[in-house]
Amino acid sequence: MNERNLTQEIKASPAQIRYANTLFYGALIGFVIMLVTYSLYVFGILTPLIPLEELPKLWGQSAQAYREAGGIPQGWGWLALVSRGDMSNFIGIAFLASLTIVCFLQLAVNLAKTKQWIMMVIALLEVLVLCLAASGILVSGGH
């Protein structure tokens, strides 16, 4: 490998740079949304589903007991209640958790353009795995 090639290879690939840029701006937007919705929640501008004073009675219980006592929906059920202060926080959280899916879709397209088929298949499989996790289909028995 000659010196010129090494100098070229030091740089991150264009696909990697695009991934980094999407991740950077997406994370920034996600954090801002999270801070705004949290402020609206704790300062009482948006009424929460579970009153703030009631939470200390619930957060020592298991998630299952918390869901049942507070009427907290599973999966994407929070979307129907997004106008409530506590549920609105999931906009930012879900946005941050969705970023990797978006980045991988973009990466798969870039890998297809450069005909890196094995990596493209891995990227698409990763999208499937993350979509499965995000779908809410996977529900454990609870304890």
Binding site: K57, Y66, G71, G75, M119
Partner: protein
């Protein structure tokens, strides 16, 4: 004065951490004694009516067992989230200086000393690790310290197994998870104590799998100005180990940097900087899959998750600045000590001792 500051910084951080932990433990113990149980049936009924069709309500198998009767907290609602913000700020500083991720300290310490159930601590722990990885990822990718070709196959295995781990962790009884968490934390403390990472492992010949997946690269080491070429070996063994790493990450909500780095560096032969960078980036993928499972099961309480994320991220920013004047070796041993302590506490709690 600044010259002497570094001598006292580790002691100061140790003292603050101990004070916060002891206060948190005392406050929680007092409240556990004095608290009175109150039902939330009216709130629940109202909320259930409002949420017209939460599509995937869980089968409520064995709900609310007497063994998990909660200790009721009488502090104002803002007390614990505010404590968590400051606690995570200190944790963020210490984690950066000790070279560990926030999650590995967050879960055992918060589950041991704060009044939150382990389900919510694991949910918040994953969000903390995920947020840290999302913040660090772009910089690492741009500098080529995190390598996509190395990360992609590993991430696919770890993230799929993290889902299994998360489901397992939520299905098993809390006492069993707590006991396993204690054992794992003690194991991590031993690993940190004994492992000696190699800055540039010697890889004479790349194996067939590594070659087929293109697990090689070049990066510029800014500390020496050298251009470093690297490639992996023992790739199959490394990929298989990520099955266990993924399961543990999802089950305990720990993040997995503590395991990623030794496997990538010592086993597969990636240079330390590439292993650390790729590991941090990997968390943004592994923890995403597990975080979704926890979030979909209602294990993320925003009131505690958001201050944890903000506190730890602010702490990390300060930690990076303090890194230049502190003695990381002392901090590292302090963190190992804290891990032994919190691991033993989790183990005893799990065993009901």
């Amino acid at each position: 004065m600044l010259n002497n500051f570094h001598r006292f910084l580790p002691l100061f951080l140790s003292a603050v951490l101990l004070i916060v932990l002891s206060n948190a433990n005392l406050c929680f113990a007092d409240n556990a004694k004095d608290g009175t149980a109150q039902t939330l049936e009216q709130t629940a009924a109202h909320n259930a009516a409002e949420a017209q069709a939460p599509a995937a309500q869980a089968p409520a198998a064995g709900a609310g067992t007497a063994a998990e009767a909660p200790a009721v907290d009488t502090h104002p609602w803002w007390f614990w989230p505010t404590s968590l913000l400051f606690f995570c700020f200190i944790l963020g500083i210490i984690a950066v200086m000790a070279g560990v991720g926030g999650g590995v300290l967050f879960v055992p310490l918060v589950s041991g000393f704060f009044p939150f159930h382990l389900d919510f601590v694991r949910g918040a722990g994953l969000m903390v690790a995920l947020a840290g990885a999302l913040a660090a990822g772009p910089g690492l990718l741009r500098r080529n310290f995190a390598n996509l070709r190395l990360a992609l196959p590993v991430a696919l295995i770890a993230s799929a197994c993290a889902i299994v781990g998360a489901m397992l962790g939520l299905a098993l009884p809390t006492t069993i998870v707590q006991t396993c968490l204690g054992v794992t934390i003690l194991g991590i403390a031993v690993l940190l104590l004994l492992s000696k990472n190699s800055v540039r492992p010697v890889v004479n010949k790349q194996d067939a799998i590594g070659m087929a997946l293109g697990m090689q690269g070049v990066f510029l080491d800014p500390s020496t100005g050298e251009v470093v070429e690297w490639k992996t070996h023992r790739t199959l063994a490394g990929l298989l180990l990520f099955i266990a790493i993924g399961i543990m990450a999802g089950m305990f909500g720990l993040g997995a940097g503590w395991a990623n780095v030794p496997v990538l560096n010592l086993l597969m032969g990636a240079p330390l900087k590439v292993a650390v960078g790729t590991s941090k980036f990997l968390l943004s993928i592994t923890d995403t899959s597990a975080a979704w499972v926890y979030m979909n099961q209602g294990c993320v309480i925003p009131l505690m998750a958001v201050p944890s994320i903000v506190g730890l991220m602010l702490g990390s920013v300060v930690g990076v600045r303090l890194l230049a004047i502190a003695k990381p070796k002392f901090i590292r041993y302090m963190v190992i000590g804290v891990l032994f302590f919190s691991g033993a506490k989790a183990l005893l709690k799990g065993l009901g001792i």
